[in-house]
Symmetry: C2
């Protein structure tokens, strides 16, 4: 046997163990850790980052990669893929000096805490200096990486392999051409959609019980995962046998927790269905954020906001809330969950305007890395974009620039994957529809059929395929955003009786 295989697996196991610990620290910080824990957590994470770096970025690893390249043709398929994955990871990290790499880890811890405080007190000035430092680090990283092309490309492709400003510009342009006039026509209709979810309280215990039932319907394996609460819902993948999702309950807005649970469960299913043969490994996780978001959004939107979904599962909600829902029905819930309204908060946006929220962030990020915006300029730039795209102005920064956690954690380049995910999801839906009735499965309370298809065509591969390979393999064609725009036009034309 090729000795480099074992060496690569050993390195993988060690880096995966450090990653496991770092992820758990992150989970704990978001769900449980006390206020004063920030400082020492920052120190611990800085040490762990340095450890990760010094174990990975060595002459020994460089030699290993050279040897794997040399013997590539004789490697088993899985090792060849893993080698490619590690080579990319090595290049991403090795260009950064170790002290800067470790210091950035600590900076993110402090910056997240500052963001949380700033958001709570609606005071951007608390966050601004940290945000500027995070931006400065990203700019330096782009220079270190030295890939050429648009500077923002470097960040984009860390979240979506193959994505460039050129591709994203075209994609968003195509969306804009459909969404903006569609939104205009809907607004002109001036319809009021009555909602069973406003002006009535849904107690938290009942919402929890409903979440629990929906997780079962979605085939979330509770022996290999848990659900908890956090201010901002997220999914944490320790490994296929330990997947954590969170949701956030609001008494006066039950729809929010329902869709958070479904969305995060979509991410969770992806991770739980990763092929066992990939082992305890860096490649045993979703391949990119775009593909990951396609899995959360196909459940949240294509399934969860469909009429078939409400016809199938309305009775579960009614069991839990007979009083609150006594005057309504499944159709009301379906319509309420698709009420189109320009709004300020991305995570509460309807499916149609959602992509506009993403475009705003995309354009701001692009401008930052073109050097046109600094941290101090961002609140005004944010507000101007919201005025332009949605005709709204935030009353304060907590419903403006401070609403999202991403930038505080250095996640620049991440946002576009949400919109890409929606588009991939529609292409996957269409592919399933060619094999079986997608909405018939939902209507028949058979989400397992959909889960099986996703597992077979997407989930099980983990990171062994690129997004392009996944899409090609699952749908037989390359990425085509028209599935998404067609879906939006069809759905909203019916809902709003547009002719």
């Amino acid at each position: 046997m090729n000795p480099y295989i074992e060496q690569l697996d050993g390195l993988d196991r060690r880096l995966s163990a450090i990653g496991f610990c770092e992820s758990l620290v992150f989970w704990d910080a978001a769900t449980l850790a006390p206020k004063n824990s920030v400082k020492n957590r920052g120190l611990a994470l800085e040490e762990m980052a340095e450890l990760y770096y010094t174990i990975f970025i060595t002459d020994e690893t460089k030699e290993l990669l050279t040897n794997l390249e040399r013997t590539k043709d004789s490697l088993p398929e899985l090792t060849r893929v893993k080698y490619q994955f590690f080579k990319e990871m090595f290049e991403q990290i090795a260009c950064i000096p170790v002290n800067e790499y470790a210091a950035f880890s600590n900076l993110k811890t402090q910056s997240s805490a500052a963001w949380e405080e700033a958001k709570k007190t609606k005071d951007f000035s608390i966050f601004e200096p940290f945000l500027q430092q995070v931006i400065d680090f990203q700019r330096k990283y782009i220079r270190y990486r030295n890939l050429g092309g648009h500077p923002y490309n470097t960040l984009l492709q860390d979240y979506e392999r193959g994505l460039t400003v050129e591709v994203a510009d075209t994609f968003f342009e195509q969306l804009k051409e459909v969404i903006v006039p569609l939104l205009k026509r809907i607004s002109e209709k001036n319809m009021t959609i009555p909602s069973p979810f406003t002006d009535v309280k849904f107690d938290i215990e009942g919402q929890k019980a409903f979440s629990d039932k929906i997780l079962d319907k979605m085939n979330f394996n509770k022996d290999s995962g848990i659900i908890a609460e956090s201010v901002h819902p997220f999914t944490l993948n320790l490994n296929r046998d330990d997947v954590r999702i969170t949701t956030a309950y609001q008494e006066d807005y039950a729809l929010s927790s329902i869709y958070s649970t479904i969305h995060e469960c979509g991410h969770g299913l992806y991770e739980q269905n990763i092929g066992e043969e990939l082992g305890f490994s860096k490649i045993a996780t979703g391949t990119t954020m775009g593909i990951h978001e396609s899995q959360s959004r196909i459940y949240e939107n294509n399934i969860g906001r469909s009429e078939a979904f409400w016809n199938s599962y309305y009775h579960l909600l009614k069991e839990q809330f007979p009083e609150q829902l006594k005057e309504t029905n499944a159709l009301d819930c379906f319509r309420a969950s698709n009420d189109v309204k320009a709004s300020l908060i991305r995570t509460e946006a309807d499916e149609l305007t959602y992509s506009l929220h993403i475009m705003i962030r995309y354009e701001l990020e692009k401008a930052i890395f073109e050097g046109a915006l600094e941290a101090k300029d961002l609140p005004a730039a944010w507000d101007a974009k919201y005025e332009e795209y949605l005709g709204l102005s935030p009353a304060d920064d907590s419903e403006g620039i401070l609403q999202d956690v991403h930038w505080s954690e250095g996640l620049f380049g991440y946002f576009p994957s949400y919109a890409l995910g929606s588009a991939y999801a529609c292409q996957f839906e269409a592919a399933m529809n060619r094999e079986f009735g997608f909405y018939e499965a939902v209507a028949a309370d058979n989400l397992g059929r959909i889960n099986e298809w996703l597992k077979e065509n997407i989930h099980r591969y983990g990171s062994t395929k690129t997004p392009a390979e996944i899409i090609e393999g699952a749908t037989g064609e390359s990425f085509n955003p028209s599935y998404f725009t067609d879906y939006l036009v069809n759905k909203y034309s019916k809902l709003y009786a547009l002719t």
Copy 2:
């Protein structure tokens, strides 16, 4: 400046970061992680243990320790103490081959899971093979350490620096001479103590609210700590700014959660009061398990089971449970929390018989490491000891040998520290009483006075002093178990009107 100081601090920081992660993984496993998470957690912890070892046990560290020894006289006090601490840690670990050290970490993970399953299903055979492997490892460790003397000494001193079989034998002999006849006299009295806590349900929410109030009274800093639930209450010290305690609520036995909370909070206060000047360091934690238990037990027993305590805080419990407590008073609670009864479960035992439970475990462990007992012999040996000391036989192994988590985690040599802790606590109480009225402070709702004394004389030092130094410094004399036996005789003579 001596360059070795910085080198030692760097090593300390890195090992502390790994320890931080390992502790958090342990916390998560005990409070939250899903069932199937065991296998990969084991892999991750094995890697982390190997990492810890390979970072610590190197020629570089050996050279550093030699250099520190050589320049010892010119070192600042804190570094000198830290050097001594690291030298001992190095010797404890360096004698074990790295692969065995790492494999033991994984074994503990699997063994804890097997123990949990065995306890739940009351089936010792599930746990037996793991227990034997854990014992085998400990025996090998004793040979590797090669300290001479009684083999069990090696384990004892890992939990209580300076403790030997000879010292422990004398200590337990002295306890036995007092406790056994005292228990006999109490039993002969045949008194029935009515309890406000039996045959009545105390809802969990109310118990939580009371726990919360008691934590405030005890000055637990909730910005630097949290309380959660776990099957077996424990305290986890990440660092002084992040201390986690757990408790376990039972509707039909509220006293259990009350004393678990108080006990764990005692541990928690020790950790929260560690001197800030010790930094993010391996020495910034309680010095030994014996001293740690003295802090939990002085709160649980000396304070929590005193008449003064119930006089001060009964009203808080009554506020929470007016219905349940309408026919009772503080005195009833005081008496009920000191009801002496031979029983099978250590953690539910009264203060008097508690030490007998410890002696049983001490004697079994001693026999194991003398080579007289193997895992398969332990259930019968356990039952025989309970018959001998307490006149009781467990109905099954879950209330017998499977009741405690310790052995599954390799914690052999740990149990004696509980009894030592009780004895130290009484000596500390006596020292405080020479400076101010200990029970007067409790009666005056001024636990802060006691917390201050403990902080000043014990907590702040972390691991910079040995137990002997702590006791000498705090009380002006060396360890004297008579304070404990006198305390027991006084307390129970009054309670049971013995003449």
